[in-house]
């Protein structure tokens, strides 16, 4: 798989050069929403990286005397029912929530891409079998299955991630297979076959790079859904164990205070919303420039 990843990476790299040389960058920037998405995601990422360094307080230290304090200079986002500084919890949470999203998405992506590539490229029985597998996974409503799995395994972030990863890979497999099948029939792959190019090289050098675009897009969009999924499971009560400052859990806990201390729920709520929004916008933007279905934008020679 590493090779595959590599060539995805290199493909993305090459795309990036293409971006610079072609009008793609312009295409991307033409839509302010894309730019907004990019900036939000960048911001969140920075928060995740340096958050703990700049956080004013320890995310778990309580101060019962100052519980339920509204936003103030000391506590820009106020304090929660145990007097913990929400801003600090939010910053630490960013790393956590983003980490979960990345981890889950990566597992899904690797698993799905491998299967999809295998199915699409080998075809025949293998394809049939793998696709049935995909159908089976897709037959279960994602969150429902995740809920059951996480529930049976017992509440913990690890299990939540596991569950979410297990239920998410199929869409990648399907996407990749579809693109592979489409690409496989394109003349340049047929040409490669005639040039005695090895199957493996065809798969990694000719198919993967063309698959990479849509996959990257899907992954980006997926980040958002994973974050939402985690929040949902946390709300049901399968999420992080206290005092972990996980956004979903913070939001779920804060809901009892919605009337009396709105910030406890709404601060993490808005954080989640922005993050998801950011990734979705970014995903749309990337789709405009990476997805072959939108190749037109690339081939535009004014």
């Amino acid at each position: 798989m590493s090779v595959a990843l590599e060539s995805i990476a290199s493909a993305v790299g090459r795309r990036y050069r293409a971006l610079r040389t072609s009008r793609t960058l312009a295409t991307f920037c033409a839509n302010p929403l894309n730019v907004a998405g990019l900036s939000i995601v960048t911001a969140i990422t920075i928060a995740a990286v340096i958050g703990p360094l700049v956080a004013p307080y320890d995310p778990t230290t309580q101060d019962l005397a100052n519980r339920l304090q509204g936003p103030s200079l000391a506590h820009p986002f106020g304090t929660d029912q145990l007097g913990r500084d929400l801003l600090s919890r939010l910053l630490y949470g960013a790393r956590l929530s983003l980490g979960i999203a990345v981890a889950v998405t990566t597992i899904r992506l690797v698993l799905g891409t491998t299967i999809g590539l295998l199915a699409g490229y080998t075809g025949g029985w293998v394809d049939e079998a793998l696709m049935r597998l995909v159908d089976i996974q897709l037959a279960f409503p994602g969150l429902v299955l995740a809920l059951v799995i996480a529930g049976i395994l017992g509440p913990s972030l690890r299990n939540v991630m596991l569950a979410l990863a297990v239920v998410g890979w199929a869409s990648y497999a399907r996407l990749v297979r579809g693109t592979v099948l489409a690409t496989k029939e394109r003349d340049f792959v047929r040409a490669a076959r005639l040039m005695n190019v090895s199957r493996f090289r065809i798969a990694t050098r000719h198919l993967l790079p063309n698959v990479a675009g849509p996959v990257v897009v899907l992954a980006t969009l997926n980040m958002g859904t994973v974050i939402l999924g985690t929040a949902g499971l946390s709300f049901i009560g399968l999420g992080a164990q206290p005092p972990t400052p996980e956004w979903g859990t913070m939001l779920a806990d804060g809901r009892h205070h919605l009337r009396t201390a709105w910030w406890i729920a709404n601060v993490p709520g808005v954080a989640i919303m922005c993050t998801v929004l950011g990734f979705t916008l970014l995903g749309d933007g990337l789709r405009d420039v990476l997805d072959p279905n939108h190749e037109t934008t690339l081939e535009k020679r004014t």
Binding site: T60, T61, Q62, L64, R67, Q81, L82, G151, G154, P155, G237, Q241, P242, P243, D253, R255, H256, H257, L258, R259, T260, A261
Partner: protein
């Protein structure tokens, strides 16, 4: 000794969702009055049944609704009180004779006689509900006999002074042979008759004109399901319901400030404490357990996160139980230095202690995090695991934990079993592990076992109290539990409501006097 026993799940936490209580919230909309005589009430648990067969009367939970009644009721002082039975006497160590109230009519118009009582016990209570009942009531099937139309005798398996208080329980109800509890054909003697049920949503009862205690004021009561405290509060504030049990803690202040809501607080038969697994490293070390006790300030907890609802506790049993000890017990005022010393003396060396808490325990997550913080300060790391009841019980059954944050609540005046089940070696908490590995969970064994047995079997209130208090002192000295607070529960209602009759056992509330002013 008892061969089979009721379980913690069924007894200790029989008040489903009974959690810590808080005070008032805030609200904008006003409560709109309804037609006189009809009221909507939201208890803490789903009135149409928890889905469990043992407390599910064909889709109706026996609590709150006052459709069915037991022979004995409980006073506000948690003493047995004549109800369908007017009087009872122990003719010998194991025989109880009950005189039934005359002129009690079932909802189908028939009069209640001894046959119905015998039927209810023999055909239903002792046979249909599961074996645990035998151990709970100390009565085996075939030991309930009709003496005459209005007299019934019970043969207990061993001397059991607590019997009358124990059967003063909503579940030990009397129904005629025609009734079919499981099919939902419920024929009770209560002041209200079951009118209709919508599973998981609501349950409606109507006034029973021929009630032996005189027809109640309300013509109709609707009990709605809303197990989430915040939702309950919202329902009241939005004026959709007239009375709710236990509004969300965070909202109580707000409710207090409203003119159109009245708040009633009642000390309950329940208490909240951390019970420690004294048979597992390192909490098998009394010093560590005491340290954990010294680290906590009950007052702070009550005044902050509980919004002042509840009483700081120094013992495991609610003080409404007459033999519960409080002043007599060693007071662990918060003293961190002392706690630290004790820790360093103890065998504890930095390992993580596991603290379990059930996920639907109201404010459980908050409380457990306070513990975590406090113990951090005395250098003890707590690893919190919020689990759903099943996993939780799985863990406790195996004894794979150090601390467990939980509530205990008695749904009948006789609370003896709380002592027995928790702290006696043969109590349900300890029995399995004791038999398996010679250990247990919270059982100090030896003297304490004896004291508990004495208390359990003595007919003399003073002797009983003495024994139990002694036992509780031993338990607290050894720091087997970390008492947090004696529960109070809050009922918030439309300010126009009059005639609330609350009871330490929240499920004993009577609605007969319920009226609206103006």
């Amino acid at each position: 000794m008892m061969d089979t026993a009721p379980t913690r799940r069924q007894l200790l936490t029989a008040g489903v969702g009974a959690g810590i209580v808080g005070l008032a919230g805030c609200a904008e909309t006003s409560l709109d009055a309804e037609a006189d005589g009809t009221f909507t009430i939201v208890p803490t648990a789903d009135p149409t049944g928890t889905g469990d067969s043992w407390d599910n009367w064909g889709g109706m939970t026996p609590y709150w609704t006052r459709v069915i009644e037991p022979l004995v009721w409980g006073t506000d002082g948690m003493q047995p009180q004549p109800w369908l039975a007017t009087d009872w006497t122990a003719t010998d160590d194991t025989t109880w004779v009950f005189d039934l109230r005359e002129g009690v009519t079932f909802h189908n118009g028939d009069e209640m006689t001894a046959d119905d009582v015998v039927h209810s016990f023999e055909e239903d209570i002792l046979t249909e509900r599961g074996d645990f009942v035998h151990g709970w009531l100390h009565v085996e099937p075939g030991s309930v006999d009709r003496i005459d139309d209005y007299t019934v005798s019970f043969e207990t398996t061993e001397p059991f002074p607590g019997f009358p208080g124990t059967i003063a329980h909503n579940m030990i109800d009397i129904q005629p042979a025609e009734a079919d509890r499981r099919a939902g054909e419920i024929i009770g003697t209560g002041p209200f008759t079951l009118a209709e049920m919508e599973q998981g949503q609501q349950l409606r009862v109507e006034r029973f004109e021929d009630y032996w205690g005189g027809a109640p004021e309300p013509t109709e009561l609707t009990f709605r399901a809303a197990e989430d405290a915040t939702t309950r509060t919202d329902l009241l504030v939005a004026g959709e319901v007239d009375l709710i049990y236990e509004p969300a803690t965070s909202r109580i202040d707000g409710l207090r400030e409203r003119g159109d809501v009245r708040i009633e607080t009642e000390q309950s038969s329940g208490s909240v404490f951390v019970s420690i697994n004294i048979h597992r490293e390192p909490t098998d070390d009394a010093d560590l357990r005491r340290a954990l006790n010294y680290a906590i300030s009950q007052d702070e907890i009550v005044t902050t996160v509980l919004e002042g609802v509840g009483q700081p506790a120094s013992g495991p049993l609610s003080t409404v139980i007459d033999w519960a000890a409080d002043e007599e017990l060693p007071a662990y005022e918060r003293d961190r230095d002392r706690a630290r010393d004790l820790v360093s003396q103890s065998s504890y060396d930095g390992e993580e202690l596991t603290c379990l808490v059930e996920n639907d325990m109201d404010d459980g997550r908050t409380l457990v995090q306070i513990l975590q913080e406090e113990y951090e300060k005395i250098g003890v790391t707590l690893d919190v695991e919020v689990l759903e009841s099943a996993s939780l019980r799985d863990r406790t059954d195996r004894g794979e934990f150090h601390l467990e944050l939980g509530t205990s609540q008695s749904n009948s005046p006789a609370a003896d079993y709380i002592m027995w089940e928790n702290f006696h070696t043969m109590g349900i908490s300890n029995k399995d592990l004791y038999e398996a590995e010679g250990t247990g969970l919270h059982n100090l064994g030896g003297e304490v076992d004896e004291l508990i047995e004495t208390g359990f079997q003595s007919h003399d209130p003073d002797e009983k109290r003495e024994a139990y208090v002694a036992a509780q002192r031993e338990i607290m000295d050894a720091g087997v539990v970390i008492p947090l607070f004696y529960r109070e529960y809050v009922v918030a209602a439309d300010a126009e409501l009059e005639g609330l009759d609350l009871h330490p056992i929240d499920k004993f509330a009577q609605w007969g006097e319920l009226t609206r002013t103006t």
